[in-house]
Amino acid sequence: MVVGEVASRVDLLVIGGGPGGYAAALNASRLGRKVSLVESKFIGGTCLNVGCIPSKALIEIADLAYLGNNNEDFGVKISTNVDMLKVNEHIHKLVNELSAGVSFLLEKAEVNVINGTARFTRSDRVAVEKEGGELEHLEFRDAIVATGSSPVSLPNLPTDGERIVDSEVLLFQNYVPEQLTLVGGGYIGVELATVYAKLGSRVVIVESEEQLLPGFNKNLSKKLESGLRSLGIGICLGYKAVSHNKNELIIENSEESSSIPSDLVAVVAGRKPNTDTVNIKESGASLLPSGHVKVDAQRRATSHVFAIGDLTEGPALAHKATSEAKIAADVACGLRNAFEPNCIPMVVFSDPQIVAVGIDPDSDEYSEMNLNSFRFPFSASSRAKTLGDTSGFVNLVADEEGTVVGFQAIGKHVAELAGEAALAIETALSIEDLAGTIHAHPTMGETIAEGALGLSGEPLHLSGS
């Protein structure tokens, strides 16, 4: 402890202004707490500034740019020309608008926003380092820590911001690289591979595991692999990136080593929780072997410190953080709540898109469960036909009592199916509930009802198999 330090007292302190932090601040303020929020960079966090939002904007632009490439069969000829400077301008504008929107909400909620980097100095205090090095000590009654995560760096491929970059830099390139190699075939890697392949780069993905999207259902990965290959993306599975020489990335597996011509390498090997910058250990919180903060169902890390979002175990997703934010704020304000979701929907905006919600029937983890799955191929969906892509499918999973417990889908526009699937699983709907709900025709949503009919042994648009 610093001798003579003077701390200002704050009621509820939120550290981090991302989808976890700002939601926690708004919730707690609504419940009558005086909230102070410390953010080191930008309100909106990774998601809004350098993650979900700019990447989705870029994906839309890449789709537009790609329109000309495969619509001739439909009788449409388009030629496109991409101005990356303008693209960046558009994305920055969009990000700024959203960030200003969140700041407005925080202001209206009378949240005191402090720009700086907070570090715990003891169980009930942080030191906030502001621009210029000025230190402010804050003593809090309760703290909700939502400092998020950062891209994992690889020691042998240190990023230099030019030739070797991370995902956050790759989102804001002012040129389309000729040869782009992505190290990491997780969801960030496959999304950015899709983007740059559509913008005209020759893209290669290097993934050390034997499948794309490690942890996802293998059938989805396989299907994705062929979808990405048809976009011209090269995929090297089971390879590790070793080093980067001039314009080549050297990769190897147990048998051989080879080189990939790359004028830009992006390291997208996942994200790690930001526990160090906030010095979370000084709060008395414990870390798990995975590096995440150990929390209970109420998201408590200590009696008065909560941790949410990418800091805690589970998928590093904005919507998980936002959900945990509500739990932590409720509990900090004396209400009963617990983070016990039945599912956290996962969506990958690659081409084809992927959705995974709830139980994966092919996972060893659920081999003991008596599960029933039904796969409805989009070749039998009239809507998929009108969209011009019938290569995907939905797969609906029910337990032996007929409760919907899992959903997987791949194909065009399937991202929008995540909501219905999550609702069904979260509320424990039965397959009869889904099959008995009238779905609008012709929509992709119908494929969920078709899946439920299939599980009931009454498939409509498939002949008995």
Binding site: M1, V3, G4, D124, V152, L154, P155, G184, G186, Y187, S208, E209, L213, P214, G215, A269, G270, K281, G284, A285, S286, L287, P289, S290, G291, K294, D296, Q298, R300, A301, T302, S303, H304, P315, R336, A338, E340, N342, C343, I344, P345, A356, V357, G358, D360, S363, E365, Y366, E401, G402, T403, V405, I425, E426, T427, A428, L429, S430, E432, D433
Partner: protein, 427 residues
């Protein structure tokens, strides 16, 4: 693991402090911010508030001992903690294997991070919320909805079953019952004014209070007379009595002096010690003794222990009995027969900070005397406004039996004795 409260640095560069006195002992339940102890640094003495609510497990220093900044002062088992939380508050951060942490820093994408959670409970988020609010463990409930889905009705019936279990295990003959908790109902919070949301069956002390209050309020036409007493001499009297060499001298409180004045007035005006039988009125009973009830707040509700034949006790004996019975009531160890047969009641809401209240008379009595907090207030003494300690005093009387003149005479007798407590020496 318990919460360890360490001596914080409460002054610039403080190294250690002397424990002046402990305000709590092991077993005490403390609120967050409640003062735990007084410490003396080289500059000044200060009280240290508890950072958590819970039960005191262990004190780590004797009064008079010096303790260093950062050393454990007291261990508190936190309230509202479940076993998960206890392990998470455990200060194990030092034990974390550094090698493990460094390893994760360089490892690539954590595969498990991308496996979504799987359904655990067949209930909608709204039903699960209801279960949390009613403190029902949803994981042990079997659902009656389609494909075993748990409905709101299932949660409500689980609460009902749990209450029935509670009822059948509790002793209904005694007015005081331990509220047993079934495994379905998990207590999380307690404290003044707190009750779980949802339906609760009225039972135990609350049922008795409800029945009695309802009968009192509907059968007894109340009148109340309010006044304020100059309590300067009362305080002086009490302070002097406390210094008298007597084993019960320390038990003398303003309340025991009020009780003594009340007993004296009851002997002068026996009608106030009587009561009406029948509704509206069949007969009046005037007992030949005074059994004084003293209202006491306890965790399970308002209790009124009774001091029998108080008219034969001197002020020290009276103070001793009030103190003993009040402790029993607060600890909820008092027996039913120790709360029966009062002929008049004194209630001291001043101890809760109250000034004025209109207390309700118990059935079987004709009056109740309430006293408020003694505080310095402006009063006129010989034509000048002076700040003097004053005590608000309220007499409630059964107007079927007690007319205004009797009530005023009774109240004036009490007030006279409180203004000049030496009167209490005259029997």
């Amino acid at each position: 693991m318990a919460f360890e409260f360490r001596l914080p640095d409460i002054g610039e560069g403080l190294e250690d402090a002397e424990i002046v006195s402990w305000y709590v002992s092991p077993g005490d339940v403390v609120e967050r911010d409640q003062a735990l102890l007084e410490v003396l640094t080289d500059k000044a003495s200060s009280e240290l508030p508890s950072p958590v609510a819970g039960t005191v497990l262990e004190l780590s220093g004797q009064e008079g001992e010096r303790i260093k900044v950062g050393d454990v002062l007291i261990q508190i088992e936190e309230a509202n903690s479940n076993s998960d939380q206890k392990t998470s508050t455990e200060k194990t951060s030092k034990k974390i294997d550094k090698a493990e942490l460094e390893e994760t820093d360089t490892s690539s994408e954590d595969k498990n991070n991308f496996i979504s959670v799987a359904p655990k409970v067949k209930a909608s988020p709204a039903t699960r919320k209801l279960a949390r609010e009613l403190a029902v463990d949803i994981s042990i409930i079997s659902g009656t909805g389609p494909s075993g889905r748990i409905t709101n009705e299932d949660i409500h019936s689980a609460v009902k079953t749990a209450n029935e279990v509670t009822d059948s295990t509790s002793t209904t003959a005694e007015p005081i019952t331990d509220v047993e908790k079934s495994s379905l109902v998990q207590g999380e919070r307690s404290g003044l004014g707190y009750m779980k949301s949802g339906e609760h069956k009225i039972k135990g002390v609350r049922g008795v209070i409800a029945k009695n209050m309802s009968a009192s309020w509907s059968e007894i036409p109340h009148i109340h007379s309010l006044d304020e007493v100059d309590a300067s001499l009362l305080i002086d009297f009490r302070n002097r009595l406390k210094k008298v060499t007597h084993q019960s001298a320390s038990k003398i409180t303003p309340l025991s002096i009020v009780a003594a004045a009340t007993v004296r007035a009851l002997k002068k005006y026996p009608m106030m010690n009587g009561h009406i039988v029948g509704n509206p009125a069949e007969k009046v009973i005037i007992p030949p003794f005074v059994n004084l009830g003293i209202a006491v707040a306890s965790d399970s509700g308002l209790l009124v222990p009774v001091i029998n034949e108080v008219d034969n006790l001197d002020i020290f004996e009276l103070a001793e009995k009030i103190s003993g019975l009040a402790d029993l009531a607060r600890e909820q160890k008092i027996k039913a027969q120790q709360m029966q047969g009062a002929t008049f009641t004194v209630t001291n809401y001043g101890s809760l900070g109250g000034r004025w209240a209109l207390p309700i008379i118990s059935k079987g009595q004709a009056g109740i005397l309430g006293v408020g907090k003694i505080e310095e207030r402006p009063i006129v003494v010989e034509g000048k406004v002076e700040a003097r300690p004053t005590m608000p005093i309220v007499l409630g009387a059964d107007h079927r039996l007690i007319d205004g003149d009797v009530a005023e005479a009774f109240k004036n007798s009490v007030m006279n004795d409180l203004r000049e407590p030496l009167n209490l020496l005259v029997t």
